[in-house]
Symmetry: C2
Subunit: 347 residues, 2 copies
């Protein structure tokens, strides 16, 4: 844990401000700590007492990720409170796909110049999302790297570790033709497709209200990455799902095949969910083929759950708070199929 | 694990080259996998079957870190094979301080532009160091982030997770006055002090041989961060050490206090180890006070082990392969002491 005195004093920032920032950061971090977190902050490693009672074969499930070029939007608007949720929730969903419950998280924040207020805003956002996920923030590195990042800019990455019972791991290998696909709505782009979106909106005023969106473009593009933990994990632990897919880089078309067994395809019916207005705006303004849109964006579906038809009612009930709905089904892969995910009626 | 097709195809690189690179990367990653690594690469989360047999109270010990501005030296020399060892060994040593054995690692590589050869060189270096540490590389993210990094440049961070028995955790709390300090030599700057070193050598030719160093400045500055796992872990597991300190940011003066109980200080005798020529060169050329040198650099000692005097012989024997030697002792902290680490005879 080096969200600590060292990093600040070396960066030569105002010490009183840095102390206040450090205290604010520490309080937020400490609020994520339960009795499993051992030792004081500031040690060389974060300590987490593992409770595997009740598990026959515990499996640790881990993922590392960044926020990507969505950060540029945060820089433009000078708003740094939401990127932490983007980072944490992305990671939470990644291990959720395997059926894992988050245990702890560590973040890496590299700044062009040490700015205590900015670093505090980012880390408090990380801590708040960790707390929301029941996940302890047990480590972090805040590095001033002049010459790497422009002043006022930074990169942010993080690593999550979760736990699952081996025979309850969800891999997708049991998915079969006839399985139902339940889609959980996204809140916006989440953390993918920003390089394309930013190119489309390069000349746009991020602060001006856009009636079609009901908010400004900046607010829309900073909509947080949603976590599906609360809805999906109980269903996975109850053995009601055959597979899950987090719709990240690669969009609606390239992510489901990461869990789909050979010989199977997915048919989605775009009439069954709301392709959010932001995606229609990007498509129209950028004059982008829908084929490409489908491979870059989540198009309104942030997470897919595969289940047997006989469990559809239970899965819909369990995901109702997140707006879960039946969006398609698993089919055999046609011999001449171009893609393994076909979206009908989107254009 | 997104060291995968997606990242490459989206970046629009030559597909044949990317495929070859991906294969090379995958082979290196797979070589770190033992039977505890479950599932295929390319899933959403890395899976590690945890074996806690023989442990009464397993504790996970974790750390996240970057390589820092040492990367700029790698960019200057276009050499990307060694930064992986810097990253991994730094993390290995951080959790080693707590007495933890590495289980697995995940890396985050963010590039200005996707360059398959460069990414492969970096990730192979990460994988080789993981293999050396008996640590599985179970996840990674390779992100092309144009606009964040200059073409040909990147940032690299990583996260390690290790395991320890709770009542064998080493915290330093049992260190007491009279304990002996065993120092393990560093190979150079490791990963700290590069912003200062690069400022000092801003005008220097990195390729020209420097007689005083026995190699070029570039070779010297890229000397890898050394791992002390092989020597220190068996001693910790045998209960022979009272504390350990990894000499990273904050140098020889600010790191020992991270594990030293209140009221204690450390006295080091600079005549007992070699203050490597690179540090004398930096000090002379930059006209830097030794006080500052001591707070920025490891000055030739990468790792300290604290032990009782009656265990000194065993600890020296156990660290002989790494060049361990007695470099000082723990003393009571004098009431008017300015620093908790005093280095005698260095100037």
């Amino acid at each position: 844990m080096t969200h600590s005195a060292n990093a600040y004093s070396r960066a030569g920032v105002n010490l009183d401000a840095a102390d206040a920032a450090k205290r604010a950061m520490r309080e937020a971090i400490r609020a994520t700590h339960g009795p499993q977190v051992l030792g004081a902050m500031g040690g060389f490693g974060g300590l987490f007492a593992l409770d595997t009672s009740g598990l026959r074969e515990p499996v640790l499930v881990s993922s590392i990720d960044g926020v990507g070029t969505k950060l540029k939007v945060a820089f433009s608007l000078n708003r740094h409170e939401t990127v932490g949720a983007d980072l944490v929730n992305h990671c939470v969903n990644d291990i959720l796909v395997c059926g894992a419950r988050p245990l702890f998280f560590l973040d890496y924040l590299a700044l062009g110049a040490m700015d205590a207020d900015q670093a505090t805003a980012v880390v408090r956002g990380v801590a708040a999302a960790c707390r929301e996920a029941g996940c302890a923030l047990i480590g972090g590195e805040t590095a001033a790297m002049p010459g790497f990042y422009s002043p006022g800019e930074y990169d942010l990455a993080g690593c999550i570790v979760g736990l699952a019972e081996r025979d309850r791991l969800v891999s997708g290998e049991n998915i079969r033709a006839g399985d139902v696909v339940i889609g959980l709505p996204s809140l916006g782009l989440h953390t993918n497709g920003y390089s394309l979106a930013r190119a489309v909106f390069a000349e746009a005023d991020l602060s001006a209200p856009v009636p079609e969106l009901g908010r400004s473009l900046g607010d829309e593009l900073l909509q947080p990455h949603r976590s599906y933990l609360r809805e999906a994990l109980p269903l996975a632990e109850a053995g009601l799902v055959t597979g899950m897919a987090h719709i990240t880089g690669g969009g609606l078309v390239d992510n489901p095949p990461r869990v789909l067994p050979d010989g199977l395809a997915v048919r989605l019916d775009a009439a069954t969910w709301e392709v959010l207005p932001i995606f229609r705006l990007i498509q129209r303004q950028g004059n982008i083929f829908w084929d490409e849109m489908e491979r870059v964006f989540n198009l309104g579906l942030g997470f897919l759950i595969f289940c047997r038809p006989e469990h559809e009612t239970q899965v819909l009930a369990g995901t109702a708070t997140a707006g879960g709905r039946r969006v398609g089904e698993v089919t055999p892969l046609a011999p001449d199929a171009g893609a393994r995910v076909v979206i009908e009626g989107i254009a």
